[in-house]
C-alpha cells in the first residue's frame, strides 16, 4: 500500500487519518513529520506507531516529543536532525536511550545545524540537489557527518558548506485548516511547513478543520495550494501537546511531565499503551 503516489495533480485527496497514514507511510521509508515547535503532527505520529511501522528514517529539525515517542516505540532506525532536546526542559530520554544503549533498537544519527537543515528544506522545495550556506565554520559536525561538504563559489572563490537537499519519501505537517479544495492555511510560526510539503515525494497535511471559506487574513498569508498537496486528513487537536495557533496553546505542563514519563522504559511504555495504543 505504502509508496503510493497520486497519478493526477490538481486535487488533494481527503481521507480519514488512519487510511491516509496507511496509504502514504511504509516500512523503511524516509519520513518527515515537521513543525518548528508549533504545529507538530502528533496525531499522525501516533497513527504511524499504531500501524507498527519499522525501520523508518525520521527527519525533523527538532525531534521533540513526537520522535521521542516514535523512537521509543521502535519505529526508527535512523534520525536526521539538528536539535534533539525537550525544548526548555532538557533531554529527550527515549532518544538518548536509543543512542546511548540501543533500546529498543540502535539509532543511526545524521546530525546537522538548524541553518543547514532549513537550507536543505529550501533546496528540496526548489528541486535542487543540494543547499549551500556559510555554515559549520570551525564546527566538528563536519567531521562526524560525511554529508557536510564544501563547494567553492565560482564567482568569488569563497568556500561554502554544502548539504544534500531533503527529499523525503513522505512529508507530514499539521496546519490550521483547509477549504474544500484542499487549500491549506498555516498561521503563526510557519517554520518549514511549506518547504516540507513541496520537497516530499508524497505529502500528507493534517488540519484542525475543513471550512467553506479559508478566511486567510492577508494576501500574503501562508497558504499552500491544494493542488500541491497529496493527502489531507482532518485531525482536530492533532498537534497537541504542541499547539495550533488560534486553536489551542502549547501544553507546556505536559512537556515538563514528559521528562518524568520518559525517564523510565516501563513508565514510558505504560503511558504509550494507555494514551496511544498499538503497543501490544
Amino acid at each position: 500500500m505504502a509508496g503510493w503516489k497520486r497519478e493526477w495533480v490538481g486535487v488533494a485527496t481527503f481521507l480519514p487519518l488512519d487510511e491516509a497514514v496507511a496509504l502514504t507511510v511504509g516500512d523503511g521509508q524516509s519520513v518527515a513529520l515537521e513543525g518548528f515547535t508549533h504545529l507538530i503532527p502528533f496525531a499522525a505520529g501516533h497513527e504511524i506507531i499504531r500501524q507498527g511501522r519499522r525501520d523508518l528514517t525520521l527527519i525533523r529539525m527538532t525531534p521533540d516529543l513526537v520522535y521521542d515517542q516514535m523512537i521509543g516505540m521502535g519505529c526508527a532506525s535512523r534520525l536526521v536532525f539538528s536539535y534533539a532536546g525537550n525544548p526548555g526542559v532538557g533531554s529527550l530520554r527515549r532518544l538518548r536511550d536509543a543512542v546511548e544503549h540501543g533500546w529498543p533498537a540502535p539509532l543511526a544519527l545524521v546530525e546537522h545545524s538548524h541553518a543547514a537543515m532549513a537550507a536543505a528544506w529550501s533546496a528540496g522545495a526548489s528541486n535542487l540537489p543540494f543547499a549551500m550556506l556559510r555554515g559549520y565554520l570551525g564546527s566538528g559536525l563536519a567531521d562526524v557527518n560525511p554529508q557536510i561538504r564544501t563547494v567553492t563559489c565560482p564567482f568569488t572563490g569563497e568556500d561554502l558548506a554544502a548539504v544534500p537537499a531533503l527529499r523525503p519519501d513522505v512529508g507530514i505537517v499539521h496546519a490550521q485548516r483547509s477549504d474544500r479544495d484542499g487549500n491549506v492555511l498555516v498561521e503563526g510560526i510557519v517554520g518549514i511547513q511549506k518547504e516540507v510539503v513541496l520537497a516530499a515525494t508524497v505529502s500528507l497535511v493534517t488540519v484542525e478543520e475543513v471550512v467553506d471559506d479559508l478566511a486567510a487574513p492577508s494576501l500574503n498569508s501562508c497558504v499552500i495550494p491544494g493542488w500541491a498537496i497529496d493527502v489531507i486528513a482532518v485531525a482536530p487537536g492533532g498537534a497537541a501537546p504542541s499547539y495550533t495557533h488560534g486553536y489551542y496553546d502549547r501544553d507546556n505542563a505536559f512537556y515538563l511531565q514528559w521528562d518524568e514519563i520518559a525517564s523510565d522504559r516501563d513508565t514510558f511504555r505504560a503511558w504509550m499503551d494507555e494514551h496511544v495504543g498499538g503497543t501490544a
Binding site: S139, L141, V144
Partner: protein, 269 residues
C-alpha cells in the same frame, strides 16, 4: 531551568537577598543596549534579554530562531517557539528565511549562547559528553548555535561555572569560539568577533587582547579568586584589573523575579 535557578545556594553572608545565578543573568542583561539586535536562546539568555528590555533597554530587539522578529513576550517562553513569541512579534518569518536572510544576512549584533562545555577560547560543546559514536551523554546538539557563533557580530556566553563545564579540552567542538588555540577563528577569515564576554555565576570573563584566552575581568560579590580557580578546568587567568560586579539593584531583582514567577505560573498549566 527555573527550578535550578531557584534551588541554587544563596550567598551566605552580606547579600542574603539574591543568588549568584540571579547575578549571572543580571550581569548579562547589563551588557545589552537599545541598539542591539539579539538572537536569543531559551533559559538564562532569554531571561537576561527580557530583563534588559524591561529595565534599561526598552528598544532592544529580540529575535528567536523560530522566526519571531522583534518580539516582546509578557512571560519567558518555555520553548523557542511558544505562541506568545509570535503574538508579541512585529512579524514572524519562516525558519529558512530566519537563518538565511536575518542571521546569515548579518542583521544580528549579539548572539547569546550557552553550552554543556566551554574551553579557554570560548569554543562550545552542546553535542556529546564522551565520544561521538558511543557517548556517555547524548546532548541535544547544535541547533542554531554553529551559525549563531559565526554570523552574529559578537556572541555572549552564559553558563554556570564548574569543573565539568569549564574544561581543558572539549569532548566535541560544536560551535566556534576563537578556535582550538585561540587563533583559528581569525585565520580562517571569519570576520565577526566571536565570544566577547562570558557570564557565569562566579564572574565575568573576556578574551585577552593578545591571544584571545579568556580571563576574569570581574568577580561577583563574595567570590574569591580561589573559588574561580577551583571551578575552572584550566589554569584560569585574571586580568590586570579585576573589578567587583555590582550587586543586583532592587529594580533588577524585582523585575527578574516577577518575570520568573509569571513564567512559572504560565507553564504550570
Amino acid at each position: 531551568m527555573n527550578d535550578e535557578t531557584h534551588a541554587s545556594p544563596r550567598v551566605s553572608t552580606g547579600h542574603p537577598a539574591w543568588t549568584r545565578e540571579e547575578l549571572m543573568t543580571i550581569a548579562a542583561s547589563r551588557a545589552l543596549g537599545d541598539d542591539d539586535v539579539c538572537f536569543v536562546g531559551i533559559g538564562p539568555p532569554s531571561a537576561a534579554c527580557n530583563l534588559a528590555r524591561l529595565t534599561h533597554s526598552p528598544g532592544l530587539t529580540l529575535i528567536y530562531e523560530s522566526g519571531t522578529l522583534g518580539t516582546s513576550p509578557d512571560v519567558l517562553p518555555l520553548s523557542i517557539g511558544d505562541g506568545i513569541l509570535a503574538d508579541a512579534s512585529i512579524t514572524t518569518v519562516s525558519v529558512p528565511e530566519m537563518f538565511a536572510y536575518w542571521l546569515q544576512g548579518g542583521h544580528i549584533t549579539i548572539g547569546f549562547l550557552a553550552a554543556a562545555q566551554m574551553d579557554r577560547y570560548g569554543n562550545l560543546n552542546t553535542t556529546v559528553i564522551g565520544g561521538y559514536d558511543a557517548p556517555k551523554v547524548r546532548l541535544p546538539g547544535g541547533g542554531g548555535a554553529p551559525e549563531i557563533a559565526t554570523a552574529c557580530q559578537q556572541t555572549y556566553v552564559i553558563m554556570r561555572h564548574a569543573q565539568r563545564s569549564m574544561v581543558e579540552r572539549l569532548d566535541f567542538a560544536t560551535s566556534l569560539g576563537h578556535g582550538p588555540t585561540g587563533v583559528e577563528r581569525r585565520q580562517s577569515g571569519v570576520t565577526t568577533a566571536g565570544p566577547t564576554r562570558v557570564f557565569t555565576d562566579l564572574c565575568i570573563m573576556r578574551p585577552g587582547p593578545e591571544d584571545n584566552e579568556l580571563q576574569v575581568t570581574s568577580l561577583h560579590p563574595g567570590v574569591g579568586r580561589d573559588d574561580v580557580v577551583e571551578a575552572t578546568g584550566w589554569p584560569i587567568r585574571f586580568a590586570g584589573q579585576v573589578d567587583e560586579t555590582p550587586p543586583p539593584t532592587n529594580e533588577e531583582l524585582s523585575v527578574l523575579r516577577d518575570l520568573h514567577r509569571r513564567s512559572d505560573e504560565a507553564h504550570a498549566g
